[in-house]
Structures are given as structure tokens and as C-alpha cells.
């Protein structure tokens, strides 16, 4: 193999880029465009601002979480606990707000304290996952499988098997965080966009992002290149936790309640979005913009099936499954090409 790439003679300046469009890089984008065209053909309501806003708003929770998952997976880790973590944070937030209501009274200060609780719990939960994998030297899959069960049990216990509901008065104050927005764009969409843009820039243009992909590519090389592997790893889990916190504090005002059914299977949706977006599951290469497209693709499939009666919406999962498998097939052929 080595021979194939060897130049027969020394060349001072090899060409920088190879011409042509790389369809594997643009694959997710093309799939998205295809889905949009398909949707528009099947239903004339599809491109209405109401529907698009609806799709994006529903994408935003998973999307924010999936941006964090992109970093975790690029670094060669995995976090299965995010769905349960979101439910646990939601439940704890609501309980904290309800508890503090008597002392603080209903108002924005109380809501802000509740948000801070959510964010803080996210950071702590992420740190627990990260410390167990790095300092505890336990595989991420096992650690987060464990914490997934723990968080889920905690929220069920807190809710006493039922539902934890936010006080109505506070709920009315909190509601605009989900339903309100700027210039017709709701807050979850705005926050998702910000998280995605910052995430993309961090992944692509900072040393932290470079270190993440180096560790995922070969941890030993990273260690020998003086990268603090454990610290970077830990940071990805903390980032993931914080983003779960952000997603949850946007999610709570939507329903104003939390139960053991909150956030079920979010972890798999987030991972699926990451993979569809072109990030490699075993780490080493990640792209946040791909993840964003992955999330939107998954929501669009759901949306299109709901808008048309050609195929039963019950088959939603099957379509998503096909897309995931196709995405991985494309990834594999990319590897052979270079």
C-alpha cells in the first residue's frame, strides 16, 4: 500500500486539493434536500412557516443534546444516559421550583433559580459520567448504561411513580421560554442554532476540537503528543451534561411536567443523529453541522409521515432505521476511497 502513494520523484509542492465534489461529505445535506422536496410534493402545507417552525422546535431538544453527543462520540466515548438525565433534571427542577415557591413567590427570579438548578444538575451529572470513565477507568458504555438506569429510577422515585407537575402560576411565567421568541422564531430554535454554531466552531477551529478527534482516532498517539487525554474526555462529558441541562430547561415549560416517561429513547435519537451526520461511531472524526442535519432529517421523516397518508406514521421508526443504516454504509465506502 505504501508504494501506491509514493511519488517517484520529490515534488516541492504537492497539489493542495483534489478536484471534484465529495458526495460522501455532502451526503447528509443531499438527503435533507431530497426529503424537503419530497415533503413539498406530498403536502402543500409542508413548507408553511408554521410547519417548518414546528419541525425545528421539535428538533431543538434532541439537537442541543446531539451537539454534545457529537463531542463525546468524536472523542471515542458514548453517553447513553442523556435521556434519563433529562428526565431526572426536569423532575428535580420542577420539584425545586415548587419547593421554593413559598419562599420566593412566583416570578422570574424563581424561574431563573430553577434554570440554574437544571444547568447545575446537568454539569454535575456529566461530571459523574466523565469522572467514572476517566478516573475510574470504566468503559463509557458501561458507566452510562449504569447512570441511565440510575437517573431513570431517581425520576420515577421522585415522582412516586406518577407525574411531577409544575405549579400553574409559575408555569404561566415560564411558558414563553418555549412558546415565545424573537421575530417569530421561538427560543428553543434560537438556542439550538447558537449551540450548533458554537459547537461547529469549537469542533473545527479550536485546539479542544482537534484534541477530541485526535483522542478518538488514537488515544495513545494523543497521549504521546502531550494531550491531557483524561481532561479532554472529562470535559466532553461535562459539556454533554450541560447541554442536556440547557435542553431540559427549554423543555420543561412545554408540558410543565416530568415523569418516568420523559426523555425516553432520546439518547438513541441523539446518537442516531450524530451518526447520520457523518461522525464516526468509534471516534476520530466528528462534524457538528452534520449532526444538525441528522437531527432535522429524523424530525422531517416523522413530520412527512404525519402530514401524508401514503404510509402509516407507525412506520416512522422503520424509516429512521433505514436512514441510519444507509448513513453508515456511506461512511464505510468513504473509508475505502482515500
Amino acid at each position: 500500500m505504501t508504494v501506491s502513494t509514493e511519488a517517484p520523484a520529490p515534488s516541492a509542492s504537492p497539489p493542495r486539493r483534489r478536484p471534484g465534489v465529495n458526495f460522501h461529505v455532502l451526503g447528509p445535506l443531499l438527503a435533507l434536500i431530497l426529503l424537503v422536496v419530497l415533503g413539498a410534493l406530498l403536502n402543500d402545507q409542508f413548507l408553511s412557516s408554521g410547519n417548518i417552525s414546528n419541525v425545528l422546535a421539535r428538533s431543538s431538544f434532541i439537537g442541543i443534546i446531539a451537539v454534545g453527543a457529537t463531542f463525546v462520540i468524536t472523542t471515542g466515548g458514548i453517553d447513553l444516559s442523556v435521556g434519563s438525565m433529562a428526565a431526572f433534571i426536569a423532575g428535580s427542577m420542577i420539584l425545586a421550583i415548587n419547593y421554593l415557591l413559598a419562599g420566593m413567590g412566583a416570578g422570574w427570579p424563581l424561574v431563573l433559580v430553577g434554570m440554574a438548578v437544571g444547568l447545575g444538575l446537568g454539569l454535575i451529572s456529566g461530571a459523574v459520567n466523565g469522572l467514572l470513565t476517566t478516573r475510574g477507568r470504566i468503559e463509557a458504555f458501561i458507566v452510562t448504561l449504569g447512570t441511565m438506569g440510575i437517573f431513570r429510577a431517581l425520576v420515577t422515585w421522585l415522582a412516586n411513580g406518577g407525574t411531577i407537575s409544575l405549579n400553574f402560576e409559575v408555569g404561566d411565567i415560564y411558558r414563553p421560554v418555549y412558546y415565545g421568541g424573537v421575530a417569530g422564531i421561538t427560543w428553543p430554535i434560537i438556542v439550538f442554532a447558537l449551540v450548533a454554531i458554537i459547537g461547529e466552531v469549537v469542533m473545527r477551529r479550536t485546539a479542544f476540537g482537534r484534541h477530541c478527534s485526535a483522542i478518538g482516532s488514537n488515544e495513545q498517539v494523543a497521549r504521546y503528543s502531550a494531550i491531557h487525554v483524561d481532561n479532554v474526555r472529562l470535559l466532553t462529558y461535562v459539556l454533554q451534561g450541560a447541554l442536556v441541562g440547557v435542553a431540559t430547561l427549554l423543555y420543561v415549560p412545554r408540558l410543565g411536567s416530568a415523569s418516568s416517561a420523559t426523555g425516553v429513547l432520546w439518547e438513541l435519537e441523539a446518537i442516531a443523529a450524530v451518526i447520520i451526520g457523518g461522525t464516526t461511531l468509534k471516534g476520530g472524526y466528528g462534524r457538528v453541522w452534520g449532526t444538525v442535519i441528522g437531527v432535522v432529517i429524523l424530525s422531517l421523516i416523522d413530520n412527512i409521515l404525519n402530514l401524508t397518508d401514503v404510509v402509516s406514521p407507525y412506520l416512522n421508526g422503520a424509516f429512521q432505521g433505514v436512514i441510519i443504516i444507509l448513513a453508515v454504509l456511506l461512511q464505510r465506502s468513504r473509508k475505502g476511497e482515500r
Binding site: V3, E6, S11, P14, A214, V221, R223, Y285
Partner: protein, 505 residues
């Protein structure tokens, strides 16, 4: 011997990858009962020819003949069934399986529907005993040393009852003793009528064990001659196409400059005990010893890559080094011997690899990609890195170019002290010479270099002073004219040396 009909032969075989042709009309043959050495620089086309002969790749043009008849292998499996076995340089073993499971992988012995574990163990034991190794067939491959893995790979090939054995640099990772036992096996197989294609960068080996030598240069056969008719210099000349009188640059006189590094009583648990040495500015210090004597571990301990205790004084300051990051800040850099496993990200391009160690020099908040590209331009020019494309994956570079890139990566942090571990392993002679030149230049610029090497010629030709390690201890120090092969060997083998008597056990 050459009069015998060929067992396996290539006739006017060519091979191209896309627009790049790497083999041109190659005529090559192997007759039963001979060792036919194939030598050439990295990138000369040896690997490609071996892959074609073993069925791993089809030729673009030309024919393969087996027992005189034209032959097309569709896979290595088919070739193996016909008795042609390639032993890869990069070992192809399943790490988590046992040695015996690996030896019989894909050809398990069965009794009815079940594995005949007892028969496989017996047979594996016999094969390994023939190779004079003490490897336990039941041990996991992941627990073995690299050289033991190589022996397992050879045992695996033997179990296939090979008629043609193609060996890709089998001794690159073997110790001298292991190499000797391998040569005895090769002699035994030859006597049994097996045809052996042997490649190595070690020309003394080629001279010692082969019957014929074929030299490949830039994809063309330069010459095929009986080994008796060519000496090592002749082989080197044919490979490179020019004279190589001065493999090593002239050694500067041993410097009397100040001591930049002083190490006292460094212990690396399980590997090194009480290592003490000094290093001067502008000095090239050799670290010799057998594989496994603790040379790498000593330096990794010093670099903070392994837990270690001891007293380290750097430019007059007592320091404690906990991490490679801290070592880099203190001006220490280490080039690993394992460039594929620990040195470079094989699935990434050259640019991120080059700047990985010194990334803080290219980033404040954001990474300055333009500065990175400029650094890559400089590195390509300074270290003569030859890549077909700038965005080629590093795993597709030849070993020599990988090593140059690794060197460039390390030098990017401008270290005062550079530790290079087996800098020329698996590298052709022309590139070796270049790397020696870089090391010499570093020393001339006032940097200090520690060279860990198993190649005597390298240690002798390059170093001002040589430390010899044995069983985790520094057992000798040689300077000036005392740096000679027999002296190093005597220390390494424990025939001479200061700390023989207080060895543990």
C-alpha cells in the same frame, strides 16, 4: 539451483494505482529449495510485488505462473490453498484470541461439529517448539511481545504447509537471538524444498541466508544475481543507484559543553532500577541494549509517560515531570519507536499530525490553519517529506516519510533535548542516511540528542557516548574508541559491566 523449474514466477508483471505505475515489467521467480531475497528502498515496489505474488492484489498486466501454468488468484485464501503464504510485516493476529486459536484461525481442526481443542494445542505446541520459542499456546496474543507475535505469525504460516513462503521483513522486530532461530527455521524449510521470498533492510542477513538476490528500484528490477556474486556494498549501491560511502555524517568531537540534563536514581517500577546519567549540550548520547532491557521504559519514565521516581536536574534546575505536556514545556521531546501505534494518527492528513504536539503554538482561541499550512510547507522542505498529495492520509505514507513527519512534528516544539527511539526501524537506507543527517545537524545546532537503537552500526556511527542497558539497569558507559560492537554486546549480554553483581533474583 537456478536451473530448476520455477515454482512461482511473475512474467512482465506491471501494476498501477490510478495514474501511478509502481511496477514495470517485473520478471521474478522462486524455485523450490531456495531463499530468494528481494531488496529495495521503501517505495521501490517490494510490497506490491509481494502482494501480487500472494494473491492479495491482481497485476495490472503480465502473468503469474504456478508450476509453469498461468495462474490468477482471486484472493489470498486461494493462494494459501495452493501453498503460497505471505507473512505480513504488520502482524495480522487477533489480539484477544489465544496463540493456538490464531495459528488455526480459519482452518480450525474439528472433531465432528466441534473444535478439536486438544489436537490444536498439541500441534501449536509442536510448531512453536520447532521455532525454539517458549510461547505458551494458551496465552493471549495481546499479552505477547512484538517479537513473540512475529514468531506466532511464522508458526501460523508453517501450519499452512506452505510451498512458497513470502516473508516481509520478518526480523525487523526480532532480537538477534530470535533472528538466529528464525534463520535456522528458514534453512530447515529450504532443505524441505520450500521456496522462500525474503525481504529485509538488513543486508548482512540477506548476504548470510539467501541464495539469490533481486534488487528492485523505482518499480523495476535492477539485477538478479546469486548472493555469492554480490557483497553488501554492492547491494546497497544497486538499491540506491549511487554510492553510499558515508552512511553516517562525520562525528563532531565529543562536546565539553555544560550538562543540560542530569538524572540520578530513576526508577520505573517493573522496568528500570536506579538509572543515572548525564547529557551535555550538543551531545549525541546512545542508549544500547537488547530489546526489553528497559531503554524505552527509562525514557518514557523520564518523559512522564510512565510513573517513575528519581531525581532530575534540567539546566541546573531540579524538576519533577508528571506529564508529557510538562516535559514539552521544559524542552524535552520524545519520538516513539512505535510510529504507527503511538506516533501518528494514521487516518488523518499530514497537517493535523504535524501540529498535534505543538498545537498551542498555532492557536489562541482558534487554530490558525494558514500558519499550520505554512508549517507543513516548511516541514516538507526541511525534512524532505515526499507525499503524492498534500492531503494524503498519513497511514498511506511510506515508513520513511512517516518517520520524517514524526520528526518534523517533534521538532515543531523546538525542544532542547530530543530523545529518538529506534529512529530508523523499517526504513530504507537512503532515508536512514537522511535521518542520521538530521540528528547530526541537531547536535551541531546545540541541541542534545539521545538515540535509542538496536542497530549497532547506528549507535557506533552516530553517538559521542553510549550507555548500555541490561535488565533494567545501566550497566556500562562507552566513550570514544571504546564504542565498538563487541564492547556494546559484552555489556548488553552481561559479560561486562558495573552492576552485574547486585542484580535482583
Amino acid at each position: 539451483m537456478t536451473g530448476a523449474p520455477a515454482l512461482l514466477a511473475s512474467e512482465r508483471v506491471s501494476r498501477s494505482f490510478g495514474p501511478v505505475q509502481v511496477l514495470f515489467d517485473v520478471d521474478f521467480d522462486l524455485v523450490p529449495g531456495e531463499v530468494h531475497a528481494l531488496i529495495g528502498e521503501n517505495g521501490a515496489g517490494k510490497s506490491t510485488l509481494m502482494k501480487i505474488l500472494s494473491g492479495a492484489q491482481p497485476p495490472s498486466a503480465g502473468t503469474l505462473r504456478l508450476d509453469g501454468g498461468p495462474m490468477r488468484f482471486s484472493s489470498t485464501e486461494e493462494a494459501e490453498d495452493r501453498g503460497i503464504v505471505l507473512i505480513h510485516q504488520e502482524l495480522n493476529l487477533a489480539d484477544q484470541l489465544t496463540v493456538e486459536a490464531n495459528i488455526f484461525l480459519g482452518r480450525e481442526l474439528k472433531r465432528g461439529p466441534f473444535l478439536d481443542v486438544r489436537a490444536m494445542r498439541r500441534e501449536a505446541h509442536r510448531l512453536l517448539a520447532e521455532l525454539e520459542t517458549g510461547i505458551d499456546p494458551a496465552s493471549r496474543v495481546s499479552d505477547l511481545s512484538v517479537s513473540d507475535k512475529q514468531m506466532v505469525e511464522i508458526a501460523k504460516a508453517l501450519s499452512r504447509r506452505a510451498r512458497v513462503l513470502i516473508m516481509d521483513e520478518p526480523t525487523a522486530v526480532l532480537t538477534a537471538r530470535e533472528s538466529q532461530s528464525l534463520f535456522r527455521q528458514i534453512a530447515r524449510l529450504r532443505a524441505q524444498g520450500v521456496a522462500i521470498l525474503y525481504t529485509s533492510h538488513k543486508l548482512d542477513e540477506v548476504k548470510a541466508i539467501s541464495d539469490r538476490v533481486t534488487v528492485l528500484r523505482d518499480g523495476r528490477i535492477v539485477q538478479t544475481t546469486p548472493t555469492a556474486a554480490i557483497d553488501e556494498d554492492g547491494m546497497a549501491r544497486a538499491m540506491v543507484g549511487r554510492d553510499l560511502n558515508d552512511l553516517f555524517p562525520d562525528k563532531a568531537p565529543s562536546p565539553e559543553a555544560e550538562i543540560v540534563l542530569e538524572v540520578r536514581g530513576l526508577d520505573v517500577p517493573g522496568h528500570v532500577r536506579g538509572a543515572s546519567f548525564t547529557l551535555r549540550r550538543g551531545e549525541v548520547l546512545g542508549l544500547a541494549g537488547l530489546v526489553g532491557s528497559g531503554r524505552t521504559e527509562l525514557m518514557e519514565g523520564l518523559m512522564g509517560l510512565r510513573p517513575s521516581t528519581g531525581w532530575i536536574r534540567l539546566r541546573g534546575q531540579t524538576v519533577r515531570i508528571h506529564s508529557p505536556g510538562q516535559a514539552a514545556k521544559l524542552g524535552l521531546a520524545y519520538l516513539t519507536e512505535d510510529r504507527k501505534g503511538r506516533g501518528l494518527l494514521l487516518d488523518k492528513t499530514m497537517r493535523p499530525n504535524l501540529t498535534l504536539l505543538g498545537l498551542d503554538r498555532f492557536s489562541n482561541i482558534f487554530i490558525n490553519k494558514r500558519a499550520e499550512e505554512r508549517a507543513l510547507d516548511d516541514a516538507i522542505a526541511r525534512f524532505d517529506i515526499r507525499a503524492r498529495r498534500r492531503d494524503v492520509r498519513v497511514g498511506n505514507l511510506s515508513g520513511g516519510n512517516q518517520q520524517k513527519l514524526l520528526l518534523a512534528k517533534t521538532m515543531l516544539v523546538e525542544p532542547e533535548i530530543v530523545i529518538v527511539d529506534e529512529p530508523t526501524r523499517g526504513i530504507d537506507i537512503g532515508t536512514k542516511q537522511q535521518i542520521y543527517g538530521f540528528i547530526e545537524k541537531l547536535a551541531a545546532e546545540g541541541k542534545s540528542v539521545i538515540v535509542i537503537s538496536s542497530e549497532m552500526a547506528e549507535v557506533i556511527g552516530l553517538c559521542h557516548r553510549v550507555l548500555v542497558m541490561r535488565s533494567g539497569r545501566i550497566t556500562g558507559e562507552l566513550t570514544g574508541d571504546a564504542i565498538a560492537e563487541h564492547q556494546i554486546v559484552r555489556h548488553a549480554m552481561g559479560l561486562e559491566g558495573s552492576e552485574i553483581h547486585d542484580r535482583q533474583h
